[in-house]
Symmetry: C2
């Protein structure tokens, strides 16, 4: 999170907004970060973030800050939590509304400035490598993501438009950190009616071509039954 230096002298807390962006890269769940530039965050990674300005809605702040810090726009997001511990930034009292966001790696790579952006596998994230309380925030966001994956059709936002069932299953496996049974996974995911065959196949591999699927609904949808357990 990059912050302008002068506002800490006001007598009220400063309101910031940070974003935990998840993507899947090389089979691992990763969080997107930038290199800290101020005195406190020097040499560490920080979440993309910034200060919310007067008269700006949180949505607007999200869009602006995301674009300024990463070059991304139009990705799936959801408000996560507001962190307000006065000690979380040693420069002053910063209350941060944190969003988490999902993006598929191909969209990410095509929109961002690779030289400024880090994509860190979540197992490599710790308070040694991330400034402020950002490692803790990412852990919190990961839990929320697991939950959302289990109870909603949110997975579509971390996948390309069309995908194979194996690719979809591996999203779940990577995020749940658990292997799933292929037959049960397919049975259940198809029974939910969330996805449909596109009629196309993925011919890029040198093996039997896999059928491609896409999500039926693009909006977030709560499931009556838990999506995936196994």
């Amino acid at each position: 999170m990059e912050r302008t230096p002068n506002i800490f002298e006001l007598s009220i807390p400063v309101l910031a907004l940070d974003v935990v962006i998840f993507t899947i890269y090389q089979g691992a769940l990763c969080a997107v970060s930038v290199v800290g530039s101020n005195i406190v965050a020097k040499g560490k990674s920080v979440l993309p973030g910034g200060v919310v300005t007067n008269g700006e809605s949180l949505e607007e702040a999200f869009d602006r800050i995301l674009l300024q810090t990463t070059g991304l726009k139009g990705i799936y997001k959801e408000q996560l939590y507001t962190f307000g511990n006065p000690g979380r930034d040693s420069r002053g009292h910063v209350v941060s509304v944190v969003y988490y966001a999902l993006v598929d790696y191909l969209s990410l790579a095509s929109q961002i400035d690779i030289s400024r952006i880090l994509t860190t596998p979540i197992h490599m994230i710790s308070t040694d490598t991330f400034a402020y309380d950002h490692a803790e925030i990412i852990t919190y966001a990961k839990k929320r993501l697991e939950w959302k994956l289990e109870y909603t059709n949110v997975a579509q936002n971390i996948l390309h438009e069309s995908f194979t069932l194996t690719a979809l299953q591996s999203i779940y496996e990577v995020i749940f950190e658990r292997v799933l049974d292929k037959r049960n996974f397919r049975k259940k995911i198809l029974a939910l009616g969330l996805i449909q065959e596109t009629g196309e196949t993925d011919k890029s591999s040198s093996r039997r071509p896999a059928r491609l699927y896409s999500f039926v609904d693009t909006e977030l949808k709560m499931l009556e039954k838990r999506e995936i357990t196994m």
Copy 2:
């Protein structure tokens, strides 16, 4: 939400904290509010709230604001959402971190100053009776409460220490707005192992005395399986 008038002149959004307090009174789910005193909220109800001060954590702000506005302390709470639309308070840009809280009516009635506090059944809450976006916030909180009731043992926080199974069932019925089957409810709630018999019975009614139960765990606990559906 009561706010001090002078801070709106600063060039950054003001951070406030509001609380949706739920309780069950006379068989209805109710939200606690106070009478608006400033020019914008005159004649309407507002959620208990206030401005977060510099150097104060959100937890500390919650405790202070809750006590100042209602006299309550030590009740169950959880952060709900942060509302930041610049138009939500016509006096200036107020970003409000909203918590929801649960309290049983007997504790509520014994701690609050009845003459200053309103307890409104949630079906009577609308933008006509509540100032700002508070009616909308309460609706949002109600949804979260339903969810929590379904997936956690949070119900204990809206009940007295010991309770009959019929009382517990009626909590679920009031919040879900649906009647539940008595035998299935009991079977399921007992199978979950969340509650235990106290050995006492409720002799206050003039009918067959009901057994009293209490919760085993006092901390919030996620259930692996959905708690109550039916």
